[in-house]
Amino acid sequence: MAEIKVQKDVKSLNKEIAEKNRAEFKKHNIFVMNIMGSPGSGKTTLLENILPVLAKSYRTAVIEGDLATQNDAERIRKTGVEAFQINTNGGCHLNAKQIEAEYAKIDPDHTDLIIIENVGNLVCPIEWDLGEDLRVVLLSAPEGEDKPLKYPPAMLKTDAVVITKADIASFADVNIEQMKKNILSVNPKAVVLEAGKVNGVYSAESVIDYIKEKIKAKKAE
């Protein structure tokens, strides 16, 4: 019998491709953001609302990940932004190889910003590096204020958490302040923002400002 020592991260093959993607994005001055969150947490709705503003300052492309359908890519295209749909056929997360393949369809010299909407899931997408610069996790109020405590890796392995649907929190007996406290109790370094309908009108100012600030910071590097 022989014992071969390995000491290798199970996801190291994905990590290698993610680093290749990251180097490629940097070379072309492209900022890449990965949006994650449970099914229906409001990822596409957030994009529909921030893209018209972001697209004024940055040449933007969106990569959509879903198990099935072109629905989300079509919703994005209605905002005038180019969108590429990945169907994972049951896969619960996007991986770096899929992003590499979609990126090949994008003209890197005429792109400043790529936003990836990951498959709706609060567990698996978190674990797969895509080569992104910024990670944002959406948490909708009706999911419940205890979710940050039940899904710690999602709170830990992200830069920011955006709480959505605060307008319907009261219908679900959810306390937004407690939800924020729970996020920060797991990850005191997380940036916590809010987006969603206020008096029937969708607002995501803080998210737009945050993204712009992060893009500026990367450019200055």
């Binding site: 019998m1 022989a2 014992e3 071969i4 020592k5 390995v6 000491q7 290798k8 991260d9 199970v10 996801k11 190291s12 093959l13 994905n14 896969g91 619960c92 997360h93 991986n95 899931n121 567990v123 698996c124 978190i126 674990e127 797969w128 405590l149 710690p152 890796p153 830990l156 392995k157 920060l184 109790s185 797991v186 005191p188 370094k189």
Partner: protein, 115 residues
């Protein structure tokens, strides 16, 4: 839920490692599974068995060791096993920390019989 993908990735690495090493039979593969790795041991075992059923690795054992999460306090540098939240440094009470272990899954070793 992504345990199948994790095991597919692991098997690709194992293939690379044993390639050209005159391996006759793989007896077991040992993994360290981080407490914050978002992987369920039972689901890993299930996926592993399903993926290896019709391959030369059929019957190979998957040994899973739990790896605790370790946090380093950003104020004083002390390390602590991170069991629950919020984090509070037992030495200085600091609340900011960096996780240095337990977020990932590592292939520790492959136990095999050589030709």
């Amino acid at each position: 839920m992504h345990e199948t993908a994790l095991m597919q990735n692991m098997l690709a690495i194992v293939d690379k490692v044993i390639e050209g090493q005159q391996v006759k039979k793989v007896n077991s593969i040992t993994l360290s599974v981080g407490k914050l790795s978002n992987a369920l041991p039972d689901a890993l075992t299930f996926a592993f068995e399903a993926l290896t059923a019709d391959t030369p690795l059929k019957g190979c054992k998957l040994i899973l060791k739990e790896l605790p999460a370790v946090a380093v306090c950003e104020a004083c540098g002390a390390d602590t096993i991170l069991n629950d939240f919020p984090f509070s440094c037992p030495k200085c009470g600091g609340k900011f920390y960096t996780i240095v272990q337990g977020e990932d899954i590592y292939i520790e070793s492959i136990d095999c019989e050589l030709e």
